[in-house]
């Protein structure tokens, strides 16, 4: 049986009960102009709009890689040896927002424009709980 998971910080992404389900990002949509935002906000950021009619929505989990890097230092806050060195990407969500988050995999796998899928990654334990962050993983070709 899989261990219970909690987000490193609440309010940014879902943690599905089904460990095989992809998490989604917690964002907002402006009901006046239709613009989407991540993370959640209560006033539309567009200078032409500034509406206060924003509703909570879930974004992703798929996205397109806009840019990437590979960091040659440990991931801050992680106690796992495999996080010494990690990818980081800017990911364009289909709804519009761009996010920057860690990437699964190695640098050779990353290509600008490739499709990615959101996933949860444990970075350390708290008793019986896994503390998880959100990251993106390159989709297998044809997926």
């Amino acid at each position: 049986m899989s261990r219970a998971r909690i987000p490193v910080k609440p309010g940014f992404f879902t943690v599905p009960d089904d460990p095989t389900a992809s998490p989604r990002l917690l964002g907002s949509r402006c009901e006046a102009c239709g613009e989407h935002f991540f993370p959640r906000r209560r006033v539309c950021a567009r200078a032409e709009c500034l509406s206060e009619r924003l509703v909570d929505v879930e974004l992703g989990p798929r996205g397109t890689l806009y840019s990437y890097t590979f960091v040659h230092f440990p991931l801050f806050g992680s106690s796992r040896i495999e996080h010494i060195g990690y990818g980081v990407g800017q990911i364009d969500l289909p709804e519009g927002p761009r996010v920057q988050l860690p990437l699964a995999g190695r640098q050779q796998e990353y290509r600008v424009g490739m499709m990615l899928d959101a996933e949860l990654e444990p970075i350390r334990e708290d008793g019986d709980l896994d503390i998880v962050i959100l990251r993106f993983r390159p989709l297998a070709r044809g997926a």
């Binding site: 890097t69 806050g77 519009g96 959100l134």
Partner: protein, 381 residues
């Protein structure tokens, strides 16, 4: 801005100074600036103080080093652009007619801040898990994808700044031999494609400028060229699709484009009139991008301009003449004022071994947390 001059400048060399306090460094920088202006602290009518990492009221306490004269003291903070933002407030205080002599002081001990936080670092936020250099590396990767930029272009920028820094006695990094692009590329990888030598160091330091009326500058130092501040801009982000809200961000490129347009219009100059430029080169990719965003070369031509040596001392427009953030250092609060120190000395013809043959108009650009952009134009009268 029509009636504001830099009366004096002073610095404490940037570096790792575990045995010095903010007060020690600030006293040295401030007294140097007052001596340079030919003024006493009794003449200072107001002070704007910039620091990022110290506790509340640190600015007022540090100012006591100069004496307790009752003057108004105001803290200004805007991340990396703190010193630049403080200068802007001082310029307006003079331009408005309220004061004749205003001190701008910036200081920080980034080393102390990192010692304090290192034991308790916790990835409590999504963005805190990621090394800040990564966000600048993302800009570089995208540039490589769109324009075919090579790591060698970034290495040439860094090597230039390291070699400029070696000629600046206030520079944190003082290489004792010529730095080649090959050496920059061979230094350890931080976040691909950025290597350690393409990245600014952490450090401590202080810098000070005395701002006042140009006629006072003429009276205090007859025969010395008067350096005027002819434009000042501070802008924040405008939302556009794809805006990044989470993380220590690079900031929208449009902020620098808009700021450059604003100062060129205010000063009545164009990018072709600039003899020297200082930018927020915390990482080499930033300097490359700012060449284009400030209009120093057309979009897409930065790589060719780098290969021609356009931005070296002696090139078309010298950039980061004091070593920039990469070599001179970037403690935080004082960084923007180090740019003013360098530009003022160059415009006066007092920059020693790194003096440019022609220096009449200079531009100083700083970003703060990727969320504000501050630009000043300084001109020799």
């Amino acid at each position: 801005m029509r009636d504001v001059a830099i009366l004096g400048v002073g610095m404490h060399r940037f570096g790792m100074w575990p045995d010095l306090t903010n007060g020690d460094m600030s006293r040295e920088a401030g007294l140097a600036a007052l001596r340079d202006a030919g003024l006493s602290f009794r003449d200072v009518q107001a002070a704007f103080v910039g620091h990022i990492f110290s506790h509340a009221m640190a600015g007022v306490r540090v100012m006591k080093e100069f004496g307790l004269t009752g003057l108004p003291i105001q803290r200004v903070e805007n991340a990396s652009a703190t010193g630049s933002a403080a200068l802007r407030e001082a310029c307006w205080a003079v331009e408005s007619g309220r004061y004749d002599v205003v001190m701008v002081l910036g200081f920080d001990k980034m080393t102390a801040m990192i010692q304090q936080s290192s034991g308790t670092t916790d990835a409590g936020n999504l963005e805190d898990a990621i090394l800040p250099a990564a966000f600048f590396a993302l800009w570089a990767t995208r540039r490589m994808h769109e324009r075919g930029t090579k790591a060698e272009h970034l290495a040439r920028i860094a090597a230039k700044n390291w070699n400029n820094g070696a000629l600046n006695p206030m520079s944190q990094r003082q290489a004792d031999a010529l730095i080649t692009p090959e050496k920059v590329l061979a230094s350890s990888m931080v976040a691909w494609p950025l290597t350690k030598m393409m990245s600014c160091p952490i450090g401590d330091g202080a810098a000070c400028a005395i701002v006042g009326r140009p006629e006072l500058a003429r009276k205090l130092n007859p025969g010395r060229p008067v350096v005027k501040v002819t434009a000042s801009h501070l802008g924040s982000e405008k939302y556009a699709r794809g805006h990044l809200f989470v993380g220590p961000v690079v900031g929208p490129a449009q902020m620098t484009i808009d700021g450059a347009h604003a100062v060129y219009e205010e000063a009545g100059v164009g990018p072709k009139d600039l003899d020297l430029v200082q930018v927020h080169d915390a990482f080499a990719i930033e300097e490359l991008e700012y060449y284009e965003l400030l209009g120093l070369c057309p979009p897409g031509e930065a790589e060719a301009a780098i290969e021609r040596g356009d931005f070296e001392r002696g090139g078309r427009v010298a950039v980061s003449t004091d070593g920039g953030l990469i070599a001179r250092g970037h403690p935080g609060g004082p960084t923007g004022l180090a740019q003013i120190w360098e530009t003022t000395l160059q415009l006066r013809g007092e920059a020693g071994p790194r003096q440019l043959a022609r220096a009449r108009t200079g531009l100083c650009h700083m970003m703060g947390g990727g969320s504000v952009c501050v630009i000043h134009v300084l001109q020799r009268e």
